[in-house]
């Protein structure tokens, strides 16, 4: 059976160039980047080169790039590393759980958090951030692009508020990286987090921009790696891969890959809306990451539609998987004011940058048929499933 993957916001495959770039660093150039000998020097060179590429990707100095294990570590480091008892954090109710759960833990240490809700279209209003500012506000943490709706937040305006009020500013750019041009100086952030596996590099690697002079305590302590910002032997092959992926992402943004993806995404979206009654776009009318579409379907349960489509070869996602693998209604959609039924009946389609017209054709073939079957067998939805 044909398989079409439309869940790029969950993870992406490695691009062949990325695999090729990292290949020599498993066996041939296996050295520890901290070693004095030539094997070590070879590894150090590779890490330095990747760091320079990431600096270009962020628009910062190489010394401001810190390699991490991924998005969760970056988000955790920003919060745990900047906040102390008595401080106040402003974040949003649509952040990734790597931020929200860190904020919950910090509450035990006497760090209060204000979670700003989005508008119904999924955008955070910068004025709501401003209104949440307190004298003890030390950090503002906002995501660049939302993982579920793709809505791109007005981070530059929020950055100006942070600058005016003297708060530190962290950007979770895990979903934005590679889809939206990043310039840390325009954003005005102090810390910015990205993850490799959302941008065609391996799982288990990520990077942060940390503005020079930012008093960010490390999460991991040990050796003096990463200018003492992150202890632990560098994951050299993965760092090389992330460097290559960042290079390809920059090239793609320059050459209009996102424009092409937006065209495909819009064709998918318009096709679903035209062919299937009782549908709509969550986050419509906002600036969105070009690959992401979040669509609600009346009179069905999203979880069953995800399974039905998977069995037809189309991989998409709905809500967020809880520990057992069952689906919970999306906290993002709930924060946007959707009722539980509609939040449960919403699916996320997120295209790989290698998506083709044929992929869209296939999706538009299987989705209406699957929706028909689900609705035909649906109970009167006034029932108890809520």
């Amino acid at each position: 059976m044909r398989r079409v993957y439309m869940d790029a916001n969950a993870t992406t495959p490695l691009l062949p160039e990325v695999v090729e770039a990292m290949r020599p660093y498993w066996i041939e150039h296996f050295g520890n980047a901290s070693s004095i000998h030539q094997q070590g020097q070879r590894a150090r060179t590779a890490v330095d080169q990747a760091r320079e590429t990431l600096a270009e990707f962020f628009g910062c100095h190489a010394a401001e790039v810190v390699f991490t294990s991924g998005g969760t570590e970056g988000d955790n480091t920003a919060l745990f590393g900047l906040l102390h008892p008595g401080d106040h954090l402003i974040t949003t109710s649509i952040e990734h759980s790597a931020v929200l759960a860190a904020a919950d833990r910090l509450a035990h240490d006497g760090i209060a958090t204000t979670k700003v809700d989005p508008r119904p279209d999924g955008l955070i209003d910068p004025m709501d951030i401003l209104r949440a500012i307190r004298p003890e506000t030390r950090l503002i943490s906002v995501m660049l692009a939302n993982n579920e709706t793709g809505v791109v937040q007005p981070v530059e305006e929020i950055g100006r508020i942070a600058a005016q009020t003297g708060a530190f500013f962290h950007i979770d750019a895990v979903q934005g990286a590679g889809k939206v041009l990043i310039d840390v100086n325009r954003i005005g952030c102090h810390v910015l987090t990205i993850s490799g596996h959302k941008m065609y590099a391996p799982k288990g690697i990520g990077a942060m921009y940390v503005r020079k002079g930012t008093p960010l305590d490390p999460l991991m302590v040990g050796g003096s790696h990463e200018r003492r910002r992150r202890a632990g032997t560098e994951n050299v092959p993965a760092i090389v891969a992330l460097g290559k992926a960042a290079e390809l992402a920059m090239h793609g943004l320059e050459s209009g890959v996102m424009h092409r993806l937006a065209t495909l995404r819009d064709r998918l979206e318009n096709g679903i809306l035209a062919q299937i009654p009782g549908t709509g776009v969550n986050g419509a009318g906002t600036p969105r990451a070009a690959n992401t579409s979040n669509i609600w379907f009346d009179q069905l349960e999203g979880e069953a539609l995800v399974i039905a489509l998977d069995l037809k070869g189309l991989a998409v996602s709905g809500g967020s998987a809880c520990h057992s693998g069952a689906t919970e209604p999306s906290h993002v959609l709930m924060a946007m004011g959707l009722d539980k039924t509609r939040a449960r009946a919403s699916l996320r389609f997120s295209l790989l940058k290698t998506a083709t017209d044929a992929d869209i054709d296939y999706a538009l073939e299987v989705i209406p048929a699957a929706v028909d079957r689900l609705r035909e067998l649906a109970p009167e939805l006034a029932g108890t499933a809520g």
Binding site: L300, E301, E303, A304, I307, A308, D310, L311, K312, C322, H323, S324, G325, A326, T327, E328, R373, L374, L377, A378, P379, T384, A385, G386
Partner: protein
């Protein structure tokens, strides 16, 4: 696997093709895992589904509840893990379906409310009626399966002479689960397979071993799945507390059949018909709970001989071998899972009611339980005891 017996998929019914995908309800136990293995070895197109019904961490740490959930109860992470491993071993698609809200609404809340009203509920029957053979079957059909298969010990055959699907007691009478299955409709029976109906438990374990299922020797679960530890009184208190509800004051008097007060009790939910322990009164002869009156809160106690009753009424009947009960009928009736069916007459009584009259008085007719009626090994139907 060559020795594995066939599942006995009914062949005769015209509008029930033999082909088609079968969704197996997988709990992570030996029985349902073996069903999946049997169907797979016969070459059927199999999908594994696990219902996520209750979050075992929800009341964890409250009084009388283990801090961490143990294995062997439905929906513990270990059970989902086991089910998933079986699906991986068999190389079948596997999904966890979230039905927690519906389970709470249709099983847990009625369970609590029944006890508070002086009845003794059977959550397994409610779960079968509302979740396993309703929601799960619907989900299975929505995602493209024709039928579901479960690990229940029961048989299910189409009888062309009566044009009805017939539920029968299994080969292994010690494992007979038909008492919990009386609520199945004709449509549900037509779309359900019980592949273990002609096997004994040791045979099932042997098939599991031959199929290389790692859980072949996993112990059977006995307790109510959402009450780890088995203390239902504590569960009710913890659940009400979580819901912000007060445990209603249902304390009252323990009285004799003549109405003479014997002492005070703390609440009618602490009692079940036939209960002997924990009455809080001393007496030269053993005393048993004979009747629980929710209105007066009186709990009537007396000697064991007075526990026996000839006749009782029940309501909300479901009929399997017959379209409806229109005249008195000779059956064997069973008022608890552990009781052998006993000769009785059943006759219509009021609207959808059934009057049951045993030939010999039976012990502890319990409101909230069900009475299930048999004709030899066939399940005629059943109803809820008033």
């Amino acid at each position: 696997m060559a020795s594995a017996p066939k599942t006995g998929i009914p062949a005769g019914h015209a509008d029930k093709p033999r082909s088609g995908t079968i969704a197996v309800a997988m709990s992570g136990g030996v029985d349902s895992s073996t069903v999946a293995a049997m169907l797979r070895s016969e070459g059927a197109d199999v999908i594994g589904l696990t219902l996520q019904l209750w979050d075992q961490n929800r009341l964890a740490g409250k009084p009388g509840t283990p801090d961490a959930p143990k294995a062997g109860r439905c929906c513990s992470l270990d059970d989902v893990y086991d089910a998933r491993r079986v699906a991986e071993t068999l190389d079948i698609p596997y999904y966890v379906v979230n039905q927690q809200e519906r389970f709470e609404h249709d099983v847990v809340q009625p369970f609590v409310n029944d006890y508070l009203a002086g009845r003794t509920p059977i959550p397994c029957s409610l779960c079968n009626n509302h979740l396993k053979f309703d929601q799960l079957l619907r989900t299975a059909r929505q995602i493209g399966a024709e039928r579901i298969a479960t690990g229940h010990y029961a048989r299910n055959e189409y009888d062309p002479a009566r044009s009805r699907w017939i539920l029968k007691r299994p080969a292994d009478l010690a494992k007979d689960q038909t008492w919990f299955l009386f609520g199945l409709t004709q449509d549900q029976l037509a779309h359900t397979l019980f592949p273990l109906g002609h096997l004994t438990k040791p045979e099932v374990r042997e098939i599991a071993r031959e199929s290389h299922l790692a859980l072949a020797d996993k112990p059977d679960s006995q307790e109510i799945c959402f009450i780890p530890g088995g203390n239902y009184k504590q569960f009710i208190a913890n659940y009400l507390e979580e819901q912000g509800r007060e445990l209603p004051d249902s304390s009252g008097e323990l009285v004799t059949t003549a109405g003479a007060p014997l002492g005070h009790h703390e609440g009618i939910h602490n009692f079940t018909i036939g209960q002997r322990k924990g009455l809080g009164v001393t007496s030269p002869n053993p005393l048993y709970v004979l009747q629980i009156d929710a209105a007066s809160r009186n709990v009537t106690v007396g000697p064991e001989s007075e526990l026996n009753r000839n006749s009782f009424t029940c309501a909300r009947a479901n009929w399997i071998t017959i379209p409806s009960l229109d005249a008195p009928m000779r059956v064997q009736a069973r008022i608890r899972h552990s009781q052998s069916p006993a000769p009785a007459w059943i006759e219509p009584s009021g609207v959808e009611g059934v009057l049951v009259t045993f030939d010999e008085p039976q012990r502890a007719v319990t409101p909230g339980h069900s009475a299930v009626f048999y004709d030899s090994d066939e399940v005629v139907g059943g109803a809820w005891i008033l």
